[in-house]
Chain length 211, copies 2
């Protein structure tokens, strides 16, 4: 796939426009020590791609409107922290039945389980359904018994790309990933849960694309 | 959002290049009855965006490599039929317990319910979980009793945009949409289920974007 690569001169033009908006092509040419004619292709590219906006009789300004390629790059560079939502969390001792009710109250597909502020497990709608048809007494058994336990939980970092999160969701066949911050306690590596990324978050991002 | 709009002259250039590859800028200029200098911005745009390729000493050819904006358009134009997968279907008389087992066996999140080859309902993991904690005898009750029934099911057509499907999924807060073909039987409008589009399909498409 080819991408639109800006030349050093085009980057220089963007910088000058950002610093002195609005700026005429004459001023740009004199600052760059070239003729206006020599600048014309660069300015045409920068306006066609939507990076700069040409205001008649005023000059060039840096555009807020993203062009397709910029929008594309924007989505490619979108990070987990940009799309993550609030995780719904409960403790290991919560009974399965109560956990399911909590799941419905919060209208989510996965509950994350914390212990002393650290992520220790996750339970999905699928896990709950499996237990529900298995004859287990849901009022007696705590979620800690049925949850997927660390270190078997796939997670992402706030700085990971949204695309990486989507890939993990597909590869590991899960609906939702916890977003964690790692910290050390002695020699132990622990995970604080700060968000979640689900197929819903990715689908919403895809809708943005089309809008 | 601004898009890269090609000018009539740029479109004319693409046409000429397609008809006479490779073609030099001199020949293009003479065919268009303009100077080479006047063509320079247009040719710069068309090569920068990846639409044309400039072969030194040979001339311009129409590029097979999609640029970002073309890839973007491709994704924007992706249709339901391009991303849909096989729906998992059962009959109204299937008992809830057996339907849940069937859901697990097929590893899907939604069962679609058919009657005489027509879509009549849908049941999601969420619906099943609600029933499972409600004390209903899952071995006795058929899915027909608990399913969401037509015409209350949101559906899409094979020719709809993937983006439209994603939007419906988000707006109606469902995990999966049936893809249907409409047909008439007398005055009745009926729906044949031919596929499904889920958040998983959309997430997979998003992963493609980043690859």
């Amino acid at each position: 796939m080819s991408t639109i690569k800006l030349s050093p001169r085009q980057q220089e033009i963007i910088k000058l426009v950002k610093e002195n908006p609005p700026i005429t092509s004459e001023k740009l040419a004199s600052k760059l020590n070239v003729t206006r004619a020599a600048l014309r292709p660069d300015l045409a590219i920068l306006t066609m791609t939507g990076i700069l906006e040409a205001r008649p009789k005023v000059g060039y300004i840096y555009s807020q409107k993203p062009s397709n390629s910029i929008l594309y790059e924007y989505i490619r560079k979108m990070k987990v922290k940009d799309i993550m939502t609030k995780p719904v969390v409960t403790g290991e001792e919560t009974k399965v039945y109560d956990a399911i009710v909590y799941l419905f109250l919060n209208d989510v597909g996965t509950l994350f389980i914390e212990n002393n502020g650290c992520l220790v497990g996750a339970v999905s709608r699928k896990d709950f359904l499996k237990i529900a048809i298995g004859g287990t007494d849901m009022h007696q058994v705590p979620v800690g018994v049925i949850m997927t336990r660390m270190p078997n939980i796939i997670y992402v970092d706030t700085e990971d790309l949204a695309y990486v999160a989507a890939k993990k969701i597909i590869e590991h066949e899960v609906d939702s990933l916890p977003v964690v911050e790692k910290f050390k306690e002695g020699n132990k590596e622990l995970y604080k849960i700060v968000g979640k990324v689900s197929k819903t978050n990715i689908t919403k991002l895809f809708v943005k694309l089309g809008d």
